[in-house]
Amino acid sequence: MHLKYESQLREPLVYGEKDFHQVTEDICRPIEAKPSKLWYVGFFIAVALLMFGFYSIYSEVTYGVGQWNLNKTVGWGWDITNFVWWVGIGHAGTLISAILLLFRQGWRTGVNRAAEAMTIFAVMCAGQFPIWHMGRVWMAFFVMPYPNTRGPLWANFNSPLLWDVFAISTYFTVSLLFWYSGLIPDFATIRDRAKTKLRKKLYGIAAFGWTGSTKHWQRHESLSLVLAGLSTPLVLSVHTIVSFDFATSVIPGWHTTIFPPYFVAGAVFSGFAMVQTLMLILRKVYGLEDYITLGHIEAMNKVIVLTGSIVGVAYLTELFMGWYSQNKYEGYTFWYSRANLFSPYGWSYWGMMACNVLSPQIFWFKKMRRNLFVTFFMSIIVNIGMWFERFVIIVTSLYRDYLPSSWSIYYSPTIFEIGFYLGTFGLFFTCFFLFSKYFPVIAIAEIKHVLQTTGESYKEKVGGIEAMQGEEFAHDYAH
């Protein structure tokens, strides 16, 4: 048994006088109570949006992609913008649970479950866009590399679009497995507390007969660690491959080598912003302030300012290279189509700069990082900014390219494109509302695991150690 100790200088990750049972009670309470009125209101708004999305897709499938305003050069518009935006949001969950697990950041335990759920729902939303963009969606299975009936003609393995198929589906599968394997012990907790027959039955099925045996925990730990190790390069690869969709082409503004890491940083950035939005609501509605503390919020804001600045360095690098390359097409795209505020889409570039690079810099200040209102506001701003980023990349590079004779008219979306986008919000929030009602929104077993080290009441108990000096301490406790 190892000494459970951390410096008293660190804020507790769980506040209040809590033992294991209290943790179980606190986290299971919302699941066992009737949903509030607010929950119903939110849920029905989400479902209504989803219905609107269905209608938009129905119309697009029936009448064809012509329902959208895509034109001869802007062949990718809102659809792919939204696709990349949602995929990006879907990166925070795996980042929190995998990379922060490897970096042993204890604070991830408070938010990882909900963030992973969010990841899965965001990837589901993202997947919609390329699928319905195909137009003849009943042919979608053509992307699968199966021994086929189309003659011996196979899918093109050299195409980044096919890489995407593999990347997104692998990412979805692995995230789901990771999330679910973490949920099994928590479902068992709910099962063993259940009062009604239906609950016992359903949570019993979901818990796979988990008992909490030591050997099972040992394997579970090993599984989590390896899945985290696998997910870390995976999460990098997914947005990398999304960036390859653009960067392998020879279109000015798209063909640039920094795209892969810069897309990943941007994805983490927007993902954390979305996690902030959801967590601030969740902790308020479910009274989880003891578990999702200001310390958690501050830590996430630090990640936001870090990734926002990395993205900023990348923007400036690109802009610089647009000039340094002395390539007139690159120069035109970067310095006219984008950075010139008065060009047709200049507003989107400056919107992006303001939201993603400039405004997050307020998180250099501790006061701002710990201010709930500022955090909530900024989380929305960042998500808007990251949407602008994808719009800037896609539309400003496409609407004017090498041949002025093929420059297109100003692209703006139709109601069906907007409706489709709103529909994915419906899908996302419908899933998230159901999740927050029926699933443990905080990883119960993981909180119990860190509770003894970082829980407020436990930290008080080992206060005596704090006064010890290194040498004496090492003598008593070093292994």
Binding site: L9, I258, P260, V313, E471
Partner: protein, 409 residues
């Protein structure tokens, strides 16, 4: 309760070895200068200066990576590294010595020698070349000199600030209040260093020092790639010193748990380096634009073919396969071997980044390269061990020391 050995004394053998390496280095520098540096053949002279350049840049950056490690872990509120933090601190002092050496070499090449065989943008031709003449706003001797000087001065200055703060841990125990303040001041200093690091290592400096050798060519990834290369070898250097001190019976609090985590850094950043390598290479290969593929053409298909693939095998395949296992990262012998291999591999990487452009037709790797490397390695051994002996090896009163003592992976 036996007292621990906190005060390092430089073993005489270490001193002898380092002086021997420096002697070999100086000897080859002199011989190299006579046979190559004073040669009337422009190309031979270029090889001489190029070799000095990539060695000094490489060793400066990997020592500076130590300070980056300290600052990054400080900002992340890490506690585990405290048991051995004096080591990256001592290594980062090398920037004070290597920085000015690099500065002198670069300024000589640009300001005194006007060596346009190295920096093509220094030539008269650049003023009429339609592409180069547009770049002269960035690629000009004045800006080069100012920015390079500023960069190195600030690396030294901001690094010294961090080390000064660290000295407070030797003075008196900290209570909760002074401890919190101490951490806060560290955080501020660390962020200043990181911001400057982002503006230099992660963007402008690699463009200016190395990418501009291929004056027409450009790649937005270049700087991040250079950073990854120097950081992973910087971690390997830290690992070597930790193991050296453990072998001499110091660093009681650091054990295989800490080594395991350093090993994880070496493993993870080797993979990260490969990721950046692949992204840059694959995108240029896939796009196949003539002005971009010129960079890889002679490296993949010409004289540098062997170096090119060796680079990939040493820096990717070996760390991936050897460091993957948990037991390997906890084994002193394997980590030592891998650290040496990684440093060598990335030295080769820097070699091909610079010399692959200066001497496209033939690989110049030979006695002179190894001689100069031994000069720098000798200096690292000599000065770092001297630096380690100046302060106690344990940050006795650091608020997170106890966390580091019971650190458990």
């Amino acid at each position: 309760m036996a007292s621990i050995r906190a005060q390092f004394e430089v073993p005489s053998k270490t001193k002898t070895w380092s002086l021997a390496l420096i002697f070999i280095g100086v000897l080859s520098l002199i011989v190299g200068f006579v046979t190559k540096g004073m040669s009337s053949d422009e190309h031979t002279k270029t090889v001489f200066w190029g070799t000095l350049m990539y060695n000094s840049i490489f060793f400066t950056l990997i020592c500076n990576a130590s300070m980056f490690f300290i600052c990054a872990t400080t900002l992340a509120m890490g506690g585990w590294q405290i048991a051995f933090r004096r080591i990256p601190e001592a290594i980062s002092v090398m920037v004070k010595i290597f920085g000015p050496i690099t500065l002198a070499i670069l300024l000589y090449v640009v300001l005194v020698d006007h060596n346009h065989e190295i920096y093509h943008w220094l030539s008269e031709e650049a003023k009429v070349d339609p592409i180069l003449k547009g770049k002269l706003g960035f690629l000009n001797p004045t800006f080069f000199a100012i920015w390079t000087t500023l960069t190195i001065v600030l690396w030294i200055f901001l690094g010294a600030r961090m080390r000064k703060l660290s000295a407070e841990c030797d003075e008196a125990p900290m209570d909760a209040e002074t401890g919190t303040k101490f951490i806060w001041r560290n955080t501020v200093s660390a962020s200043l260093f990181i911001v400057w690091f982002a503006l230099t290592v992660a963007s402008t400096i690699p463009w200016l020092w190395m990418m501009s050798i291929d004056a027409h060519w450009y790649s937005t990834m270049y700087s991040w790639y250079t950073f990854a290369s120097s950081f992973v070898s910087g971690m390997a250097l830290v690992a070597l010193w930790v193991i050296f001190l453990k072998n001499k019976g110091y660093l009681e609090y650091a054990n295989e748990e800490h080594l395991h985590d350093i090993g994880k850094f070496m493993f993870a950043f080797s993979v990260f380096w490969t990721y950046l390598w692949f992204s840059q290479y694959m995108l240029i290969w896939y796009g196949n634009i003539p002005e971009e593929v010129v960079y890889f053409k002679h490296r993949v298909q010409g004289a540098y073919k062997g170096i090119f693939f060796l680079n990939l095998i040493i820096n990717f395949i070996c760390p991936l396969l050897i460091l993957m296992k948990r037991s390997a990262k906890r084994n002193y012998t394997i980590v030592t071997f891998m650290a040496v291999l990684i440093i060598f591999g990335h030295w080769i990487d820097f070699y091909q980044m610079v010399m692959g452009s200066l001497s496209k037709e033939e690989v110049t790797l030979g006695w002179f390269d190894f001689g100069i490397a031994s000069l720098f390695i000798g200096m690292i051994i000599f000065f770092v061990s001297k630096e380690l002996a100046k302060k106690p090896l344990v940050m006795k009163y650091h608020p997170f020391l106890k966390e580091s003592i019971i650190h458990h992976t």
